[in-house]
């Protein structure tokens, strides 16, 4: 199931400048990572360990601390990882940026990512594996979308056996589906210390972080939300 596009129009701004800027920045960083890989595996791994978040190092006040929390949101493990995250950002971020304004959206994006990191580090406190990727922040944006536009219609690519179809699905079904997908692996990680290679706790943390959206909404959007008016 791949969300492709939000079919609803914007209200305040025509173009999601900040969403596009984040996508471009992430793509450039991936380009730089490929450049490092061509220099040698070790250089690349040093880069990941210095600018990714390692829970054990973070909790013992080693490494870049707060800076690594920000930098890890812009580092991805490969083109597919980047594509999946940026597609999610494009689909859900456009109208969340519309409701916040570009700069406040950037602050919200970073805040959701930081809250996701807190939850992830609490759940995986002893891990020495560097965590990278924007998924925590993007799950925060998804949660914010669910709060602001629960009835939004998302064009989604689904394969029925091998037949692709692209229905419009209500946001609450789609986002709750992605939320439900995290629950079992997250519980398994916590109880059995299983490694999935995916930070499910960061995703759940992102959902918690989405509640911070109310600090970043533009006044008119907040007024409309409080009065049950369409955003």
């Amino acid at each position: 199931m791949f969300p492709l596009n939000d079919t609803e129009p914007n209200r305040y701004i025509r173009f999601p400048y900040m969403v596009v800027a984040i996508i471009v920045l992430n793509t450039l960083v991936l380009g730089y990572e490929i450049f490092l890989l061509l220099q040698g595996d070790e250089i690349y791994m040093v880069f990941i360990h210095r600018f990714g978040v390692i829970p054990a190092a973070l909790l013992s006040q080693q490494g870049a601390g707060a800076l690594s929390v920000i930098t890890q949101m812009f580092i991805h493990a490969g083109p597919l990882h980047l594509f999946g995250n940026m597609l999610g950002l494009w689909v859900y971020g456009r109208r969340v940026e519309d409701a916040c304004g570009p700069w406040r959206f950037l602050l919200f994006y970073l805040t959701a990512g930081a809250i996701a990191e807190i939850v992830y580090n609490l759940a995986r406190a002893n891990s020495d594996i560097p965590g990278i990727g924007a998924s925590g922040a993007i799950y925060g944006v998804m949660g914010a979308y669910l709060i602001l536009y629960p009835g939004g219609r998302i064009r989604t690519l689904i394969f029925l056996w091998f037949v692709p179809i692209v229905p419009k699905i209500r946001a609450y079904w789609l986002i709750l589906y992605f939320f439900a997908l995290q629950l079992l692996p997250a519980a398994d990680t916590l109880l059995n210390d299983t490694h999935y290679g995916i930070a499910h706790w960061a995703h759940l943390g992102g959902f918690i972080g989405s509640l911070a959206i109310f600090f970043f909404l533009r006044p008119d959007a907040f007024h409309r939300y409080r009065n049950d008016m369409a955003l």
Binding site: Y12, M45, H49, A64, G65, S68, A114, F216
Partner: protein, 399 residues
């Protein structure tokens, strides 16, 4: 005891024959200058404000005990004051904030009737009415007569964007022969179309409006005649202004049934829908400027706090107190930023930027820069601290 002539004059006033009523009343006061009722009715039918004041003063001279006459005279004098001082600056008309909303509204209506190109009066009206549609219409007039009125332009765009039913509003403009405004709204609807039905209607109406506008410019289009006076419609508007929705609904229903033209029926139906919607709406919850100021200022501060918490390895007390002080600086910077940028301004903003919120460019820029600097400094300090730690960090790479 009311004389036969006075009774005839009152009947003429009530049936809308103001000229006839004026003649009868003038004859009456010439014949009997002590006729208080004749002076009072005369003050209602004459248009010249100075003459109205004289008529009311005469009525008071005859009966100084009548409180209503005194109130009426005070109101007309206020209106006269507006007209005398009406040089485009209506800041002094903020009397509505002190409970004189109705008087100010009437004075401005009077002004735009006499000087329809007075942009300041239209803008004043837009600030007094509650209905979003009326605000849009008045702001549209403001921008039409003063295209450089930035606040009106910004507010108009905001309201148009927040209107869910642009098509209905555009049709109302069409009904008033305001073709340019109607075309603008149809185009806006096409740009942010929400359904194929809306799109089809907007396209069709836009073509029609453009055609009419083209004919109008070639002087081949004759606007339909003014609809006959529809007193129920006017009555409904008065009830609406006073927030008496039930009575307004009854009046609009009557206006719809008795409408003599399609245009007045459309307007009455539109007003009826608005009144019904207003009656059924729960009271709107508005955020106070102070609440908005805190809400928006806490966002960047929350981000800083979270990063500081993570940076300390969940042990914030082990960190330098300067990093904690950074949170307060971010909060201060955010406060200044929200105060300067958020309109309408908080009272603190009025202190910084003047009561009308229009500080000069340099002051505004300086405050914006100060806000950005105050917000940035703690984050830069935190990043600098992180880089110092990173410089001595030797990662344990395990394959």
């Amino acid at each position: 005891m009311i004389s036969q002539n006075l009774r005839e004059a009152i009947t003429a006033v009530q049936s809308g024959n103001r000229d006839e009523a004026q003649e009868l009343l003038l004859a009456l006061v010439r014949e009997d200058p002590q006729n208080e009722m004749a002076w009072l009715w005369l003050s209602d039918v004459i248009d010249n404000v100075d003459d109205r004041i004289i008529a009311l003063e005469n009525a008071i001279a005859i009966n100084p005990q009548r409180v209503q006459t005194r109130k009426r005279l005070a109101q007309v004098r206020r209106e006269a004051g507006v007209l005398v001082n009406g040089d485009g600056d209506y800041e002094d008309l903020r009397g509505w904030e002190n409970g004189r909303r109705q008087e100010t509204y009437r004075a401005l209506i009077h002004q735009v009737q006499h000087a329809p190109d007075d942009a300041a009066a239209w803008y004043g009206l837009s600030q007094l009415v509650d209905s979003v549609e009326d605000q849009i219409i008045f702001l549209g007039r403001t921008v039409q007569h003063n295209p450089s009125h930035r606040e009106a332009r910004v507010r108009l765009t905001q309201l148009q964007l927040t209107q869910d039913d642009n098509i209905a509003l555009a049709k109302a403009y069409e009904a008033q022969n305001d073709l340019l405004q109607a075309a603008h709204l149809y185009k806006l609807t096409l740009n942010q179309v929400k359904s194929t039905v809306d799109e089809a209607i907007a396209k069709k109406r836009l073509r029609q409006v453009r055609r009419l506008h083209h004919l109008y410019r070639q002087q081949k289009f004759i606007p339909p005649p003014e609809p006959e006076p529809n007193y129920a419609l006017a009555q409904g508007r008065v009830f609406e202004e006073q927030g008496e929705w039930e009575r307004a609904i009854v009046a609009y229903q009557t206006a719809t049934e008795n409408a003599s033209t399609a245009v007045s029926r459309t307007i009455a139906q539109k007003r009826l829908e608005t009144a019904v919607r207003q009656r059924d709406l729960p009271p709107i919850k508005l955020s106070s400027p102070t609440y908005t100021l805190w809400r928006m200022s806490l966002g960047p501060t929350l981000l800083y706090g979270l990063l500081w918490f993570l940076h300390s390895g969940f042990k914030p007390l082990s960190q330098s107190p300067l990093l904690a002080l950074g949170g307060l600086i971010v909060l201060l910077g955010s406060f200044i930023g929200v105060i300067v940028m958020h309109i309408p301004h908080h009272t603190l903003g009025q202190t910084l930027l003047g009561t009308d919120g229009r500080a000069d460019f340099i002051t505004r820029t300086l405050l914006n820069v100060l806000s950005v600097v105050l917000i940035s400094i703690p984050f830069i300090f935190l990043a600098f601290n992180a880089l110092q730690r990173l410089a001595i960090y030797q990662p344990m790479i395990s394959n």
